[in-house]
Assembly symmetry: C2
Homo-oligomer: 139 residues x 2
DNA sequence: CTCGACAGTCTCCAATATAGACCAGGTCTC
DNA sequence: GAGACCTGGTCTATATTGGAGACTGTCGAG
């Protein structure tokens, strides 16, 4: 509990008396969650888990549509948080390899089923979206 | 496979011959993933799972720091995708209750451990970040 | 009569994401 | 040895997004 949410939480309450609470606006764990709960970071973690250690350009090719900037930024973030190890081989052309650290592997293992689920249910979801749009777009 | 990634994927390859691939920039499942893999949607799903059906203002209070705008937007999205059911009771004051549909419950069950993990590991991650900042901030 | 709750919507402004150019080595080709 | 090309980035300009906070309209409380 990080002070403020000791006061008025109507719904979630303390839940299980933990030190951190992702639902608390001011709780440090919220910041952590916000950093990791983004598209690119999640895809990076899952990609590293599925395909093993990869270099920058491999990741970029593997994750369709990431810009170099976002890839750099997300990787830095993951490195900073101790989830990913960045190893530079000072050869030419330079080679930089990224791999999961134990902490990152833990999260990647939780995230992988989310990716699978998305692929498995994508058809159903797309259908629901079309239905919704048909019903609400043409009021 | 959605055409384009049949061509050059160096790292991930087809993986397991699935129809959808979240790593493909043009794959519809990527869009689905991008919509669901955001902070607020994930917190909403977990909140609904932990605390059951809730009305708009309960969700807002429960999820510290959501603006009404983002809450509305994320809920609409979840409703549109068939993960969440929105029920309006035309009373006064108006009452709108949100609950998980089976599809949403599935995802929420996968997401809950991610929230727990974040809370459990937040301390470690925060420490790693400080260490990183100390090492790299003061070069 | 004014205040607040409810479930939003709307507008404005700041922060963020993306595309694409640019960079510093070094190697390879000719 | 000039130019093209690879790597892993950074920089910049523009598009998109996110948050603060005012507005809506009906009701019950004080």
């Amino acid at each position: 509990m990080t002070t403020e949410e000791a006061a008025g939480r109507g719904a979630g309450e303390e839940r299980h008396g933990q030190a951190y609470d992702v639902f608390g606006r001011l709780c440090p764990s919220r910041g952590v969650f916000a950093e990791l709960a983004d598209k690119w970071s999640m895809l990076i973690l899952v990609s590293l888990r599925l395909s093993g250690a990869q270099r920058f350009s491999e990741l970029q090719r593997g994750i369709g549509g990431v810009s170099r900037k976002m890839l750099t930024q997300s990787l830095r973030n993951l490195e900073r948080s101790g989830l990913v190890l960045r190893t530079v081989f000072p050869e030419t052309p330079p080679r930089v390899v990224y791999d999961l650290l134990p902490l990152g592997r833990e999260l990647a293992e939780l995230l992988e089923p989310v990716g699978e689920w998305t692929e498995r249910r994508a058809g159903r979801i797309l259908a629901a979206q079309e239905e919704f749009d048909a019903a609400h777009g043409a009021d």
